[in-house]
C-alpha cells in the first residue's frame, strides 16, 4: 500500500476545500477504500476521514412525508430503521442482503453506491489488461471469463457491472443524492449518478473531484416494494442478478411500476419500457406482465458466457413483482 497522510475532518467546509486538492480522497466506512488502497486501484496522497463529521449521520423526516438519510449513516442503521423498513421495504431488504452484518456496521449508505465493479480482471492483484484500471490496456472480460458481466449498456471497452444492492433499490425509488462541493452542491437523481462505460470506463459516476454525497432523499412512500437477490450462495455474496420493484396499485391493477435491475449493467438498470407497458395491467395477468417484461429485454445483448442472465433477470423481475404485490399497501 502506497503511503498516505491521514486527516480527521471536524468541519465540512474545511473538508470540502481539502477534498478539492489533487490525489485526495474521502474515507467514510472504509470497506471499499481500504481494499482499493491495497490493490492500488486508488493511490491517494491524502485521506480525509469524514465518518465523524457532525450532521452527516441519521435519518430525518421530510415535510412531504419522505425521508432524508444522512450519508454516513451505517447500512445496518438504515435497514433496521422502522420508518425505512415500513415505507421503503425494497431498500431495507436490499441492504440486509448486502455484505455481512459486521461490514454493514462500517459501510455507509452514501459510500456504498460508489463501490466499484467486482470484475475479477479489474480487481486482479497482478494487473491484467483492464480499461478501468489502465485506460487503453484493453478489456480482458470482453472475450474472457464474462459469465457475471453486463447484458445491458456495455461497450467494447468495458463489460463490467455495478454491484451495489442499495443503489439498485434507490434507483427504483427515484431517490435523490444530495451533494456538497467547495463550489456548491447539487441534487442528483439516482438514475443519473452512475455512468455507462462508453469509451471512458475508468469513470464510474458523475461526481466531480472533491464532491461529496451528504445525504439521500426519498419522496413519498413505497410500501409495496420488494428486492430479490439471486446469487451462487445464500448469503454474503454478490448478486448474479438482482431486482428492485416498487408498485403503486389500485385494487388489483398496476397504476405505476418502477423496476431497477442490479448486476446487469454498469449502472442500476431501469426497465423504462416495461414500466410503461405495465401501467393498467392486472397483477393476476401473468402473460401481460411477461410480455411487458420482454419489451425492455429487446435491448439485452448477452456476452459469450452470460446468456443465462437474460432469462434469469426476466424471471427475477416477474418474481419480484409478485413479492411487491404481496406486501401490505401501507
Amino acid at each position: 500500500m502506497q503511503a498516505f497522510a491521514y486527516g480527521h475532518a471536524t468541519d465540512i467546509a474545511k473538508a470540502l476545500v481539502a477534498g478539492g486538492a489533487r490525489d485526495t480522497v474521502f474515507l467514510a466506512g472504509g470497506t471499499e477504500l481500504l481494499n482499493w488502497l491495497r490493490l492500488g486501484i486508488a493511490k491517494p496522497e491524502r485521506v480525509i476521514d469524514i465518518a465523524q463529521l457532525k450532521g452527516l449521520a441519521g435519518i430525518t423526516r421530510l415535510s412531504d412525508g419522505g425521508l432524508r438519510i444522512g450519508a454516513t449513516t451505517r447500512l445496518n442503521d438504515v435497514a433496521l430503521n422502522e420508518d425505512v423498513a415500513r415505507q421503503y421495504p425494497v431498500l431495507s431488504e436490499a441492504i440486509l442482503k448486502s455484505a455481512s452484518a459486521q461490514l454493514r456496521n462500517l459501510a455507509t449508505i452514501g459510500g456504498n453506491p460508489l463501490q466499484k465493479t467486482r470484475c475479477g480482471y479489474f480487481r486482479a492483484e497482478e494487473g491484467l489488461p483492464c480499461n478501468k484500471r489502465t485506460p487503453g490496456s484493453g478489456c480482458s472480460a470482453l472475450h474472457g471469463i464474462n459469465d457475471k458481466h453486463a447484458i445491458f449498456g456495455w461497450s467494447e471497452a468495458c463489460v463490467a457491472t455495478q454491484p451495489s444492492d442499495p443503489a439498485t433499490a434507490l434507483a427504483a425509488l427515484d431517490a435523490v443524492y444530495v451533494t456538497a462541493h467547495r463550489d456548491g452542491g447539487r441534487r442528483i437523481n439516482a438514475g443519473d449518478l452512475h455512468t455507462l462505460p462508453g469509451d471512458t470506463p475508468q469513470i464510474d459516476n458523475t461526481l466531480r473531484d472533491g464532491e461529496l454525497i451528504v445525504g439521500i432523499e426519498l419522496v413519498g412512500a413505497a410500501p409495496q416494494s420488494a428486492y430479490l437477490k439471486l446469487r451462487e450462495r445464500e448469503s454474503y455474496e454478490y448478486a448474479v442478478v438482482s431486482a428492485a420493484v416498487a408498485l403503486d396499485l389500485e385494487g388489483d391493477r398496476i397504476i405505476r411500476a418502477r423496476i431497477a435491475l442490479g448486476s446487469v449493467a454498469h449502472k442500476p438498470w431501469r426497465l423504462a419500457e416495461t414500466e410503461r407497458a405495465l401501467a393498467g395491467v392486472a397483477v393476476s395477468n401473468t402473460s401481460a406482465i411477461g410480455n411487458a417484461i420482454d419489451v425492455s429485454f429487446a435491448a439485452a445483448k448477452p456476452l459469450e458466457h452470460n446468456a443465462y442472465k437474460v432469462q434469469l433477470a426476466k424471471n427475477a423481475t416477474a418474481r419480484t413483482i409478485r413479492l411487491a404485490v404481496a406486501k401490505a399497501p401501507s
Partner: protein
C-alpha cells in the same frame, strides 16, 4: 485541515487505555496484533471477506482489517482476549467448546466475537436467522452446523439466566 503520515492513536482495548504511534496505513487489526500483541484476533484474507478479524468497536461487531487505526481514535474496542471474566469463559466461548464448534480454530475468535454481538442484537430467533447473521464469518473446516448449535445453546442459556 491537518494531515499526518504518522499519528498517535489513543483508544481503550479490553478496558485498558493505550496510546500508540502508527503509520497512517495501519489498520485496527494490525494495531491489535503488531503493536499491542493481541494476536487472538486473526488476519485471514485482509480484504473483509472472511470475518476472522471480527472485533467489537464501541459495542458493534466490525472487520478489524477494514478500519484504519486512526479512525478508531477514542474508541472502545473488545477483542477475544477481553471476553472471559477473570478466567471464566464467556458463555459463547463455553458453548463453542461444548458443541464442538471448531476444528482448526483459526476462524473461531472471529466467530465468537460475531456470535456475542449477534446475541446482543437479538438475531438468534431461529437457525435460519443465525445462519444469515453469522454469514460474515467463514469456516473452511465447515463447522457451520456446530457453530449454529453453539449460538443456539448460548442463546438458550442467556434466555434462561
Amino acid at each position: 485541515m491537518e494531515f499526518r503520515s504518522h499519528l498517535a492513536v489513543a483508544l481503550r482495548v479490553n478496558g485498558r487505555h493505550h496510546e500508540v504511534t502508527v503509520d497512517a496505513r495501519t489498520t485496527l487489526l494490525d494495531l491489535l496484533r503488531e503493536h499491542l500483541e493481541l494476536t487472538g484476533t486473526k488476519k485471514g484474507c485482509n480484504f473483509g471477506e472472511c470475518g476472522a478479524c471480527t472485533v467489537h468497536l464501541n459495542g458493534r461487531r466490525v472487520n478489524g482489517c477494514l478500519i484504519l487505526a486512526a479512525s478508531a481514535e477514542g474508541a472502545e474496542v473488545t477483542t477475544i482476549e477481553g471476553l472471559a471474566d477473570d478466567g471464566k469463559l464467556h458463555p459463547v466461548q463455553q458453548a463453542f467448546i461444548d458443541q464442538d464448534a471448531f476444528q482448526c480454530g483459526f476462524c473461531t475468535p472471529g466467530q465468537v466475537m460475531s456470535a456475542v454481538a449477534l446475541l446482543r442484537e437479538g438475531h438468534a430467533k431461529s437457525a435460519t436467522e443465525i445462519r444469515e447473521w453469522m454469514s460474515g464469518n467463514l469456516c473452511r473446516c465447515a463447522s457451520y452446523p456446530q457453530i449454529v448449535s453453539a449460538v443456539q445453546a448460548a442463546a438458550l442459556q442467556e434466555g434462561g439466566s
